[in-house]
Each structure stands twice: as C-alpha cells, then as structure tokens.
C-alpha cells in the first residue's frame, strides 16, 4: 500500500476518534438560530449555553457559567439588570448582570470556579438563592429546564405575582 494512502487512512481514523458524538448531537439538538436575533449576547435564551460555549464546544467564546433569568415562575418574560452572584468552594466570588434577553455569562478567562459553586440572583429588593450548589454544571439550563418535574428545576426567576416589572424592548 502506498504511503500517502496509509497516511490518509490514519488521518481519517484519527478525525473520527477525535470528534465527540455526544457533544455533536447536543449541539444539533439545540436547533438553528432565531432569524430575528443575531448571534451574540442576546441569542438562544434558555438554552444550555456551555454546550457550545464550554471547553469542547464549537463557539469561539468560552464561558464557565451561564444562563437566563426570567421574571416569574410561570411565564418566560426575560429580566435584565439582574445581578447574578457566584461563590465557589474556596470562597472566591464573582458577579455578572443579565442583559435584556435575561442572558448572563461568565467568561472562563475571568472566573474559573473551584466547584461546587453557590449562586444567588438579585433584582432591586428581590433575591433568590439556590438551595443547593452546582457541583460541575456550568449551564444553568441543564438543570433549570421547563417544566419543573421530579428531575428538572424549572427556569430561573426572581419575582412573584405581586412584583411589577418594566416592559422594555430588547434589541
């Protein structure tokens, strides 16, 4: 067998071995982009961000923690200007603020937590703290999927029916 053919075969085998079919399927299952929202900080609210923005994901920007926060438990109106606070097992803290799509994200270069990580969200005088930490999952939506079930926690939210929220366009 000619050397170039052998080399090409080996390269093909390596390429197959190096791709992660589970990751690829997870990315595919997210579906396409919403044509009304450009790729960027406002896109794909409510999806598990680190599928693409994690260490092995296809996105260029890398996040260590990311998610989407909403106004209420029973609706999916996003909420901006929410302070999302993190504290890791060494006591190191970090905070970010959600944008108008409700999205928030922590750049992996800025804060790489020592797991587990406890989280808290604050908006004006309201505050919600997780009753348990995350031990390894940086995508909030992996656990905080809708609807809430015996194995999912439902989406992140800040308020209740007594809360008045602003109605602002998000572009």
């Amino acid at each position: 067998m000619k050397l170039p053919i052998v080399a090409a075969l080996l390269l093909g085998l390596c390429a197959g071995a190096c791709s992660d079919p589970i990751r690829t399927r997870a990315v595919d299952e997210l579906g396409g982009e919403d044509p009304a929202t450009p790729v960027g900080p406002l896109h794909r609210p409510g999806q598990p961000c680190l599928v693409c923005h994690g260490a092995d994901g296809p996105a260029e920007s890398r996040f260590s923690l990311a998610g989407t926060v909403y106004q209420l438990p029973d609706t999916v109106e996003p909420l901006g200007d929410v302070t999302v606070r993190f504290i890791d097992s060494t006591g190191a803290q970090y905070r970010v603020v959600s944008n108008c799509a409700g999205n928030f994200y922590v750049g992996a270069a800025n804060f790489e937590p020592a797991w587990p990580v406890w989280m808290k969200i604050e908006w004006k005088s309201l505050s919600q703290e997780m009753i348990s930490p995350s031990f390894r999952e940086g995508s909030c939506a992996e656990c905080h999927q809708d609807p809430a079930t015996p194995s999912t926690a439902g989406h992140l939210y800040v308020g209740d029916e007594q809360t008045t929220f602003p109605h602002e366009a998000c572009e």
């Binding site: 406890w118 009753i131 348990s132 930490p133 031990f135 999952e137 015996p150 194995s151």
Partner: protein, 180 residues
C-alpha cells in the same frame, strides 16, 4: 530481503484477530449464585440521607436518573412523580428510594463491613468514592474525618444516634471580610 505475505495467510491472521476481539464481547456471565447480605437498616438511614442529599444529590450529580447510585430529595431527583425538584422538602418516600439505591451498590462488601461493626469501611465502594480514595468524577465530597464522613461510618457501624450527621454543615463560606 523482503518477504511477501501470501493472501491466504493474511486472511487467516485477520480472521484470528477479529475472533479474538469478538470473544470478550460474547462472554456470558454464568455465575447464578445467590448471595444474601444484610445491609445497615433503613431505620437509622434518615440522618445520613440528609448528608448525601446535600453533598451528592443535586441534579448534576447523583440526583439524576442517569446515575446508578441515585440520591433522592429536594435538591435533585424526586421519588414521587408529583413532587418537583427544589419544591417540597424531602419526603420519607425520597429517603426510602435513596436507601434502596445506596444498599444496592456493592452490596456484598456493604454487608461484610456492617457485619463487622463498620471495620475497614473502605472495603465498600461508596466509602472509597466519597473519600476520594478511588477515582470519583465528583472529587472528594466527604473527606476522611469530616462530619459527613463520620456520619457515613456511624451508619455502617450500626450506630443508632446518627453519629456526626447533625454536625455536617454545607454551604457557601465567604472569605474573611466578604459577605454573601
């Protein structure tokens, strides 16, 4: 001098190689022995269940239906389809389900350790994982000598008072001068 491999010989070698790869995959487990073990009792499990829920039972770890060892409770998976994660407090039904799952892991060694009053507890797989003695994706959730670890050992030794379970505190610890 280069030797040329005959096609028949090459086919034989290939067939043997494929056969050797297939052999382990086709091996059956024929051991039909029945082993009776007596695990530590459910009656003393509730305090330990609380520790396991906090340290191990979140949705991204053993509070997931994808795990062999499942920990049920308010932090993660619920035993009752009508109860949601993060909702109502952990129920007796959750504790029952966690107990069933825990005693199903490495049951022979669990039974031996319990029968010997908790001696050499690292013979039981869960103990090795929780102490980080054996590779554990979740690290070392209950370091040797910690309150949670002593709680687990107390259950294995048959203690009825819950041991150190109530001493176990698990939560964010801000650095000096910080608030949370």
């Amino acid at each position: 001098m280069r030797q040329r491999i005959q096609p028949l010989a090459a086919a034989f070698v290939t067939a043997m190689a494929l056969a050797s790869l297939g052999a382990p995959a086709c091996t059956r487990y024929d051991d039909d022995r029945t082993v009776s073990v007596t695990p530590p009792p459910r009656a003393t499990f509730a305090p330990l269940s609380g520790v396991l829920e906090a340290h191990c039972g979140t949705l991204d770890c053993h509070g997931s239906p994808a795990r062999n060892l499942r920990v049920y409770g308010v932090h993660g998976l619920r035993a009752n389809g009508g109860t949601v994660t993060g909702g109502a407090d952990t129920t007796e039904e959750d504790v029952d389900a966690t107990y069933e799952s825990v005693v199903g892991v490495d049951p022979e060694n669990l039974g031996v350790v319990f029968a010997e009053g908790g001696r050499d507890p690292e013979r039981w797989l869960v103990m090795r994982k929780s102490r980080g003695v054996e590779h554990h994706e979740g690290g070392t959730p209950l370091p040797s000598g910690s309150a949670g670890d002593r709680c687990l050992v107390a259950w294995l030794s048959g203690a009825e008072d819950g041991g150190a379970c109530l001493e176990d505190v698990f939560g964010p610890e801000p650095r000096n001068g910080d608030t949370w």
